[in-house]
Amino acid sequence: MNTAASTAVSPAQQRGVLKRILRLFASQEAVLLLALVALFVIVGSINSRFIAERNLYSIFLGNAYIAVAAIGMSMVIISGNIDISVGSLIGVLATISGSMAVAGYPLVLCWLVPVLAGVLISSFTGYIVAYLKIPSIVVSLGMLSILKGGLIAVTSGEWITDLPEGYALAQLKPLGVPLPIIFMIVLTILAALWMRFSNTGRAIYAVGGNAEAARLSGISKQRTIMKVFAIHGGFIGIAAVLFATQLSVIQSTVPPNLELTIITASVVGGVSILGGTGTVVGSTLAAILLAAIGSSLIFVSVSPYWLRSVQGVLILLTVLADLYRRKRQRKQGSG
């Protein structure tokens, strides 16, 4: 036993490197990236307008806010919770931002206040979930009604127009790249690094993976969940500003089912609804993939009305693949 072990060191390590490369390719992120590339190549060869710069821009630009929101959502789901109020929250925060701009507040405030408000509102949700111990699905269902109803009560469903010059943050192009795309990429990288290299980041995985073990490792479940919701609120705030500054009007009716689109991005990105696993890189890739698929339907002459079916099938495929992976792992574990 002992001799076998000591001679096995280097092969084991070699195997480790090989395994790591294989694992990289088997990861959800790699699968998504491959799917994305394949989609661009195949649809692009059928109809080259699909990969024209204008279309690519519109795919990335129009959906950057979904990817940013999905970062926060992924954290929430990894911690073993869910937030179905994000759609309404984005609507509320976008309206706050727009109203402030129209009222003539300094533009910087119009961009920052919604983010702070997002942190505050989401922290409130987090407080009820973490400390009053009501399941997040119920709390966020309640918050959804409150926010959506509140929004309509205040705006009477009217659109915000006459936004001041310079407010359209999303129209800026530093270094020739539209700002939302920069936001999406930078925030994804920052969040990914934070999730991997900070104590709190790892604690999110611990709490979502095995709450009892986390408690015995000295990790406070309540505080971690509270933090996750606060940070999630920040991302939702940024997403709301990107959403609000995209067009010249702000609709007070949020795109219907926005929360489900965001959750779908997280799930297709490889975040397990049972908590404890997933990455924000995956969710961003998935958000882009979903948007690209939606856009591609037109270019291959399929009615865009089939888009949601495709999304549904994608979720199913992701989950079935995940179930299969777990089953195989269990077999290995017991063998």
């Binding site: 002992n2 072990a5 000591s6 096995a8 060191v9 084991a12 195997r15 480790g16 395994k19 790591r20 690094l193 991997r196 290299f197 900070s198 104590n199 980041g201 790892r202 604690a203 995985y205 611990a206 993976g209 095995n210 009892e212 073990a213 986390a214 408690r215 015995l216 490792s217 000295g218 990790i219 397990s272 404890g276 696993t277 777990r326 792992q329 269990r330 290995q332 574990g333 017991s334 063998g335």
Partner: protein
Amino acid sequence: MTDGRALLELSNIVKRFPGVLALDRVSFDVRAGEVHALLGENGAGKSTLIKIISGVYQPDEGHINFSGNTVRFNTPAAAQNNGIATIYQELLLYPELSVAENIFMGHAPKTRFGTIDWRAMRSLAREQLASLDIYDLDVNQQVGSLSVGNRQRVEIAKALSQDARVLIMDEPTAALTGADVERLFRIVRLLRERGVGVIYISHRLEEIFELADRVTVLRDGACVGTSQVIDTTEDDLINRMVGRTIEDLYPKQLSRIGEPVLEIESLSRPPLTRNVSLTLRRGEILGLAGLVGSGRSELAQTLFGITPAQSGCIKVNGVECLIDSPAAAIKLGIAYVPEDRSTQGLIKPMSIRENISMAVLKEISNGNLINHLAERELAQKNINQFRIRTSGMEQKVEKLSGGNQQKVVLGKWMASAPDVLIMDEPTRGIDVGAKAEIHRTMSELACRGMAVLMISSELPEIMGMSDTIAVMREGRLVASFTRGDATQEQIAAAMMSGSRSESDEGLVDSNSTKGAAA
């Protein structure tokens, strides 16, 4: 290596739970460089004691002295920071995360910028494993894909990653096979050499004699005594644990053994049920011994239709039949009192009445309509018959003691009037008095002609209650004995020996299964 002075000392610890005095002025100490075994029946207070040491519970009275200072651990983290590490019965790992990360969760090494240093973490994890003579684990591997034995080694490395001076191990061998047990023992001895004080909890007396320096016995929340292991004998320890002798404990009546009720031939469902054949007769109690993980519960669950067999043949009362669901098994007169009362045996938030009628509700109902009168009569009959101590049949089962809960499970299955009763660890977690009652009931049922298949990890129970003893190892039946023929040593040897039988499938099995069938 033992310097004689206590590293950790608990004096006169009292812990009360509503309605229960869990610990009654217990004193206990562990020295640097010794393995101190903690022994006691389930419910004797061992778990409460270690939870107090590890900061999960706080004592109501008494104090804890750690390396010369009086301390109070308010949280598990506080105890860990002081160098007290605990390995719990249920492994507390993150299956989705890597080995390295599991080892360092909560105290990962940092870079200068305060971020987690993954490179250092991996190399430290490798060092940590190497210091335990573990070279065959990849620190990048996901813990979920490891075997139970390897997961436990990760758990030990995790516990020791914070310079532990006291290590508490709560039944570490419960889920291990022979080879893994040996590896574990090597690690424990290694730690003793290094001056770590090890508190070792186990039900297996032979392990204590093999490993421990001192042993403390707890009974009903009180300390019955501490002694050097070399000064004591197994009988002595058993007597102290239970406070009475084996004959009093196992009131086995002789019953007339009749015709076969359940015959199984070459039953297989890999990986843990392989080519098993045995015969169970009317009036017989067949004790199934084996280590945890040897496939005993899996066999029982295959017979009960939870994990249907993939090949082989089952005959009930001479008729070959297919058991593909628990409902099918119940219809054939098979009942299963499972090992895990909380999740498998009972629906704890529901009432006694609802639990007792659970398996036969359709039978006592008018079609799909519940007959509440019949249900109440049934519940009352069982409460009386099994002497379930309760304020009424509407009491929630979760409010009952372990013994009374087990009687509800028994009552539930007796309501289905089975021919074959499978009992999986029937007395685990039950106090001594209730244990004797369960044993008496079991014996009475056999006398009335029921065939009982009893799975137990407690050898005295197996030897005290069984007419026939069969031993399983790695999914196969490997030996069988008739009552009075076997000694504890022989059974234990059959359970553990031949650490891994690789090629000798046919020979050993055909012999032993014949023995079991005879």
